[in-house]
Structures are given as structure tokens and as C-alpha cells.
Amino acid sequence: MDFLAEQLPIVVQQLIAGLAYGCIYGLVALGYNFIWNAVGIVNLAQGDFVMVGGYLYAASFVPVVASWLGPGSAGSSFWTALLLTAVGMVLVGMVSQRIVYYPLRASHPRTIMISTMALSIFLKNFAIVAWGTYPVATSGLFGQKWFRFDLFGLGTVTVLYQYVFILVFTAILLVVQSAFFSRTRLGRSMRAVAQDQLAASLMGINTPLIIAITFAYASILAGVAGVLLAPIFLVSQAMGSIGLKAYTASIVGGFGNVIGALVGGLLVGSIEVLSASYVSSVYKDAIVFVVLIAFLLLRPQGLFGKKVIGSL
């Protein structure tokens, strides 16, 4: 009981952080899944899109927008910069797919994978040239503010407002997304293309365009993840490493599954924080990957996937 009393607040505190990171992984994982569903490839530069989103937001748009709107406009400048970032990411996604996917669409997926790797190298190093080598700090809506609350008299838990914001923002985003996919013509045609490209084009859908839009949307998700992370992390070229965790999340959840991506993200986030605390902080990434490999061997379809292994 004593042990519990001592550990519980700490576990809760870490879980909140883990869930917030999980949401971020989930958002990026969703991007993997949409592209996977639509064209059956994995974009290995997806993680670097997070970095590009973070830089666009923190280094390019925030300073400009803040100077437009003047002092004391933290709220509106956040939303404006977020919107501009999303627009920027649409361009990034569209242009990238036009260059590294579209010309190769008939090639072996392996070739496409390599071209997305090259894109990843390009983006990492382009960031150095475009935004410099100094990591960028930005404050978002809440900066470094945190609050404490008492956990049933067991102890106090300290939480960053930004963590809560990430959780709420992700929840709202998912609700909006689900409405978009079921209620709008564009959303439905994106689903149709993901399910059957030939049938979709026989319906008169411009499939190449819808695929480009899917890439753009996946990029927006990555960019938003970058914006949400920017205040708690620093924006630097190493931010792209988040892509691997997100890839893991999408596998754990069941590749190609929307709910799976989120649940997988939350699971990976929690495993990461808890294993850092209770197993080994330097091997935490290794532990995440061990879990991944175990999943692939024991339940390759993931938590929510159908029992089919994606063929190449």
C-alpha cells in the first residue's frame, strides 16, 4: 500500500505525459495509414514532415504573425500560425508526392521506399540551410505553464497545460475528421479511393488528385503534430525521429486502421514513459521496438487490424 501511495502519483503523472506523446504518435500514424490505404506504400519521410511543420510554425509563421497582430495576441497568433502551417503542409505534401511517389507509382514499393528515404535526407539537411542550426523555442498557447492537483491525498501530480491541450486538440481533430470523412463528398471519395482505386475511377473520381489530397492531408496531420510538440520540445532537425515511433504505433494498432493508429500511439507513448521509469531510461526506445517485434510475431494484424498481412 505504501508502495502504491508512493508510486501512484508518479505513474499518473507519467501516464499523462505518455498519453500526450501518444496522441502525437497517433496523429503521425494516421498519416501513415491514410497513405498506406490509398496507395500501399509507407512514406519514410513522414517524421520529417513533423519537423518541417514545427519549423514552418515556430521559425517562419509565428514571428511574422506575431508582428502583424502586435503584442498581446498570443491566442490569435497561435491559431493563425497553425492555419498557415496547415496550408504550408498541403504544399509540402502535394509537391513531395508529385516528386517521390507519382512518377514511381508503377515501380516496386521498395523503390518508392528508397525515394522517400532520400526525401528524408533532403528535408533534414534542407532544414539546416533554411532555418539554421539553432533549435527554435516557441511558446504556443500555454508556454511552460503547469498546474498541480492532488491525487486522492496520495500526493501531488504536476501537469503541463500543453499536455492537456494536446489531448483535447487531438480529440476534437478526430471528431472533425470523422465528420469530414462521412459527411463530405471529398471525404467519401478519399475513402472510396483508399478502398478500391479502380472502382473509384470507374465512378468518375479523379484518383490521382484524390491521392495527392490524401498525401496533403497526411502532411497536415504531421505538421499539426509538429505544432503541438513545438512548445514542449524544441524544433530541431532531429525532430523527425518521431516518425519511427509513429510507424511503430500504426503497426501496433493495426496498419491501415484509424482507431488503431490512435490506440497504438497511446500505447507506444505510455510504454515509452513507463519503461524509461521502471526498466531503463537509456534502453526505452529499444523496449518500444521489442514490443513492436513481439506484436509483429504474435499479432501481426495489430490490435484492430484484419488478419491479413499487407502484401508487397
Binding site: 512518377p103 528535408l123 537509456v282 526506445d285 518500444v288 513492436l292 517485434i293 498481412i309
Partner: protein, 328 residues
């Protein structure tokens, strides 16, 4: 057997090895010579990767881990255990071969991008172990003072003899790879690549074949890892990253998937490319990435494809000139 009876690939292979042999004394500065040596070591690894990535079509992204374990097995055997040089190389081969077996077994059920992420995860695990298991690996401080080889009275301590030794090893291993490729195993690997179910239907065992490919790759990576350690004479864990695995895969793809001459061309070229681009200062790796994208997108058949077209073009050109001469 005359040179005419050899296939285009074989002729090119011989040509490449000869060019590489002639190149070394032609290069006047020892920096470029050293880059060339690095290129040969990369080629050893890429030829190994060819078995999995090229022949069997499996997305193996843990090549840096294979290479790292090879380097460390060799380095620890010759320093900590004071084993003789070639026994150390043998230890590296066995270690990475076993690693290939270890990775091959559980991941056989996985295909495509599932295999890719598994191997990426595996590579990261190995990297973290090399970095943090300090009592055994020396941790961040790496292993220093690694020897260059001797064979009987022959000394390979200097760069030039070591270069020709590396080249000889590359030639031998490429020859072996070529023989495997043309044997029934090569055909079987290709069958697994094209259609696993069909391969199974004709009585091949894709599982065993894939394990075999992983083990073969491990053997090559073991030699490559040991040679790298011997070349640098110092190894440290920050080298064996996912980025390196990606670079090696790119070398293979840029070279032209599924062709040995392409694998060597790709390795040497992509080793030189960033060095040649250094004058671009901090732009150079961004430009490197862009060049790789351009090559892949506009020539998915890689350097091998370009070479084939170029030789065809030259051949028709020569023939046409011959024809007009004949007409005149």
C-alpha cells in the same frame, strides 16, 4: 573461354574490378584514395545486402546493425581476446551469420513494410546495445588500436597494399555472389522475390530460402564489418545508425536493383558523391538527397540501366559508323 562468351554483366563486373584496380595509383591525393577504400568496404556490404534486398526482395533495413556487429566482433576478438587477425575476421563472420539467423527466423512471416519496420527496430536495438553496454563494447569510447592484416610474409599495414587486398576480397566475394546467383539457389531466391506462393507451389521452401539469404548477407556483412574496422583502426558506436542502413540500401537501388555490377557502381559512386559535394558547405547533404531522388525518379533502373543504355547507344553508334565506312 573467350571474352565474347561472357554475358554483359560479367564483362562489366570484370571491367569494374580492373578500373578500380587501375584507379588507385591514378588518384594522386591520399584523401580520395581513402574515400575509394571506404567505397570498396561499402561495396562488400552492399553485395551482401544484394542477397536479401535485391534477390529475395525483402526490405532489410538493419544492415548497419549487421555491419556494426561484424566490426565489434572483429575488434573485440583481436583486442580483448588477442585472437589472430583472420580468426577475428572469422569471428565476425560467425557472429553476423548467427545474427542473420536470429533475425531471419522470427521475421520470416513478415513481408514488405512490416519487415522493414521490424528490421529498423532491430537495428535500433543493436545500436543502443553497442552504445550502452559499455563493459563489453567499450561504450561511447569505442575500440581503438585495431590492426591491419598480414598474410604470411605479406604486410597490408600501408594503405596501398590494403587497398588491393580489399579489392581482391571484393572480387572474390562478388564472384561467389555471382555463382550463387546463377546456381539453383539464385533462381530460387528470385522465385521467392517474384511470387512466394508460386515458389511454394513448385516445391521451394521460402522460409528456408529467406533464412539462407539472411545468413549469406550476414557473412558478407561480417567480412565488411571487419574490413571497415581494420580500415579505420578505430570504431565507435555512433556510426552504425539507421541513416547508414538507408545509405547502403540507396547504394544498391541507385546502382540498379538486382544487378551485381550495379551494386558495386552504386557503392563507389554514392561514397564519393557526398565527398565531391563538400564544396557546397552546409548545402552538400541536401543536394546529395536531391540527386539521389532525381536518379531514382528519372532512372528507376539505376546506374546499371544507364550503363546498359549507354553501351547500347555506343554500340549502335560504332556500328553505324562501321556501316557508313563499309558503304563508302
Amino acid at each position: 573461354m573467350g571474352i565474347r562468351s561472357l554475358s554483359m554483366k560479367d564483362k562489366t563486373l570484370i571491367g569494374i574490378i580492373l578500373v578500380l584496380a587501375a584507379l588507385y595509383p591514378l588518384i594522386t591525393n591520399s584523401y580520395m584514395k581513402f574515400v575509394l577504400m571506404t567505397g570498396i568496404v561499402n561495396a562488400l556490404l552492399v553485395v551482401g545486402l544484394h542477397f536479401i534486398f535485391g534477390l529475395t526482395g525483402q526490405l532489410h533495413m538493419a544492415m548497419a546493425a549487421f555491419w556494426g556487429v561484424g566490426s565489434y566482433a572483429f575488434a573485440l576478438a583481436v583486442t580483448r581476446l588477442s585472437w589472430p587477425y583472420w580468426l577475428g575476421v572469422f569471428a565476425a563472420i560467425v557472429a553476423v551469420g548467427l545474427l542473420g539467423l536470429l533475425l531471419g527466423f522470427p521475421t520470416l512471416r513478415l513481408k514488405g513494410f512490416y519487415l522493414a519496420i521490424t528490421t529498423i527496430g532491430f537495428g535500433e536495438i543493436v545500436r543502443l546495445i553497442l552504445l550502452n553496454w559499455a563493459p563489453v563494447t567499450g561504450g561511447v569510447f569505442g575500440v581503438a588500436g585495431l590492426p591491419r592484416p598480414t598474410i604470411g610474409p605479406l604486410q597490408f599495414g600501408k594503405n596501398q597494399p590494403f587497398y588491393y587486398l580489399l579489392l581482391a576480397i571484393l572480387a572474390l566475394l562478388t564472384l561467389a555472389a555471382r555463382m550463387i546467383e546463377h546456381s539453383k539457389y539464385g533462381a530460387a531466391f528470385r522465385a521467392v522475390h517474384d511470387d512466394e506462393l508460386a515458389a511454394e507451389a513448385v516445391g521451394l521452401d521460402p522460409t528456408r530460402l529467406k533464412i539462407l539469404a539472411f545468413v549469406l548477407c550476414g557473412v558478407y556483412a561480417g567480412i565488411g564489418g571487419a574490413m571497415y574496422a581494420s580500415l579505420m583502426q578505430y570504431i565507435s558506436p555512433e556510426v552504425y545508425t539507421l541513416e547508414r542502413s538507408q545509405m547502403l540500401a540507396m547504394m544498391l537501388v541507385i546502382g540498379g536493383m538486382g544487378s551485381l555490377p550495379g551494386a558495386i557502381m552504386g557503392s563507389v559512386l554514392l561514397t564519393f558523391l557526398p565527398e565531391v559535394l563538400r564544396f557546397l558547405q552546409q548545402w552538400y547533404l541536401a543536394v546529395y538527397g536531391a540527386i539521389v531522388i532525381v536518379i531514382i525518379v528519372y532512372r528507376p533502373t539505376g546506374l546499371w540501366g544507364i550503363w546498359v543504355r549507354a553501351t547500347e547507344w555506343i554500340a549502335t553508334l560504332l556500328k553505324r559508323r562501321g556501316d557508313t565506312r563499309g558503304a563508302a
